[in-house]
Symmetry: none
Subunit: 419 residues, 2 copies
Amino acid sequence: MIGEIIAIGDELTSGRITNTTSGHAARQLFLLGHRIRAMHTIGDDAELIGATLKAAIARCDFVLVTGGLGATTDDLTNEAVIAALNLKSAIHPCVQANIESRMAKTEGKAAVSLAKLAHLPEGAEVLDDDCRMAGYLLRFQGKPIYFLPGVPPQMEILLRDKVLPGLQRFDGGRAVPVCQRVYRTCGLYEIEINQRLHTLERNGVQIGYYPVGAEVHVSLTGHHLEGGMDDPLFRQADALIREALGEHIYGIDEETLASVTGRLLQERDLLLATAESCTGGLIGATLTEVPGSSRWFKGGVIVYANALKENLLDIAPDLLGRHGAVSAETARAMASGALQRLGCDIAVAVTGIAGPEGGTPDKPVGTVYLGLAYGNTVIDRLCRFHGSRRQIQEKTAQTAMDMVRRALLASEQSERRMR
Amino acid sequence: MIGEIIAIGDELTSGRITNTTSGHAARQLFLLGHRIRAMHTIGDDAELIGATLKAAIARCDFVLVTGGLGATTDDLTNEAVIAALNLKSAIHPCVQANIESRMAKTEGKAAVSLAKLAHLPEGAEVLDDDCRMAGYLLRFQGKPIYFLPGVPPQMEILLRDKVLPGLQRFDGGRAVPVCQRVYRTCGLYEIEINQRLHTLERNGVQIGYYPVGAEVHVSLTGHHLEGGMDDPLFRQADALIREALGEHIYGIDEETLASVTGRLLQERDLLLATAESCTGGLIGATLTEVPGSSRWFKGGVIVYANALKENLLDIAPDLLGRHGAVSAETARAMASGALQRLGCDIAVAVTGIAGPEGGTPDKPVGTVYLGLAYGNTVIDRLCRFHGSRRQIQEKTAQTAMDMVRRALLASEQSERRMR
């Protein structure tokens, strides 16, 4: 099907907020085989909302509208739709009930403005089963018009759970999904990957490269392949990519370094701990984004000050004195100390200069030492990252997780060889 | 002036690349006093490009078009413009000369495709003085139509150096720059803020609301104010907002909770430490995003496992047994333990259920206890957050930083009262 996306909000047309929801929706729709004719971004202006919506409905099979569904006075989408499409307004009972329960909690303070949320165009089918999130489907001239909140997380949930399956039903399953697989790698530069893969491009399959911090994501896309991902062309390209990139590929599609590292730890029944200096907790925060991470992540220490490196990790003051806080020796001692003091099976440690201050000719901004302790083995690694303070911290966290992943894979291989 | 922005490219309508150039341009134009009526994103389709451009010209004072100016076969903007506006094509001598010098370097290999770059609509005024970057101005029916490259860095340079000054000339300096101030708040819901502020809205100043996790950002925008931010209308609204929101305002414009908390700590010469459970290091990671944070952040512990709460923070096992890891008592003990063991001046601790698993009827997902120890005082706070695991973690981290900020402000007030 062919659709248009309309994003509404003065914060978008004034450039205060970057519109990311339209691109996100376009991506999901594209992968399912739909085509986006146009995306429009307009302000909170009832007349313009109505005109844009009517024009889009006339041209397309479906329309997706985001934003302007809230309770504040500048949210105008509902009244604009009612006026433009000549509909009646109706109070939606489930939304109304939800508001009343919220009013009860706030002792009626929010009554007047919340009441607005229940006034929807007649025939609106509310998307969220609990009526907690704004958003509804309107069937107009037989075409599905979806209205979604502008807040990205809510919009993304409703898109995934309601809009995409709903559109497939409207379409009768005619759209042919694009087949795409994403290979997530860590440890190679984009240009190295490009050199290994560019000869594989041929009609029907397409390869794309997207650097994401210290990672590079490689996409393999097949259009109009009869067998989809089982098509010989796709399978052959897939095999060649896996061979060319080997264990630099840490995951496929939506897998993350944190989720893959966690899975490997859980499979081996191991507990990980972290000792972070320049990342300030970012490794732990990234690992614990994964649901259920308590099964394989024990905890960590953020030893930003040197005194804490000594107190919490038993690092000898003279070691810090001799080698400096940013050194291979300190990274190793941090990892060993974490293994001991936190009582885990494997520990990773980082210490470096995230900048913008603190660099020296010997150890410029971006110099990071990583240490890893696993059983009786301790290893270290030196990296020199480029970019902003935040980028250096992110690349450090990614590399630390990749170091754990590779250590787990390597120990398995060496065990196999010993057998 | 009123304008529209058109972004062209299949990579945008397929969602492979997020369109950031339109928002960037809208921001700059908005601040200079222009208004963006609509932004459109369309694919590489000559007919659609022509139709969208003609409609925009009919409605607006100026149009900005980005993308589709390159040398590859899918770049169609120039021919679409020539066809839609009924213009002739002309070879631009400067661009042609530039191509010839590049052809010489590549020994003619790129000749065929590069030649396309010099075929511009008749009357096109190339923007880059050296003719290296694509992009030109076309005057059509007396209105300026700017065509810019889609690559963000090139687009941004030409926008700043050529488009914005050019529009000011077209406008005869009539546009009055907008004055805008953003008040960043934590501790009130959007709807509560709206209720406190909506009566302040009047002709000439406008108030906007943008929730960002547990924060709400409020913008005050003045249009056509003679005195800018010194205009009595703007100053009065500013004073009323500050009075209505009081210490819920933590910062202005680009300030963050982390940077403000850090500044307050540094002014008082205090060191902060963190004890994190459900956030897994996110508070520390957010604080250490601020350059120079080592001057006020000592470090922290990530006590994900209960064993670490006992080992690293000296929490009595029977306290955990009696009250549970997610309780006010544990949050308080974590903060006190961190203050002692990490040797800092102020410590903040969080323990909660980020989900998606682990919730109970008594303590559903989103239940978070925060503890704060400062001098001899220990306080705690219960929050119930909604959203995804990540959102709950982010709201917890924001609230923890806000708790530190408020404690520092409160102690100052109480000291003042004692004097």
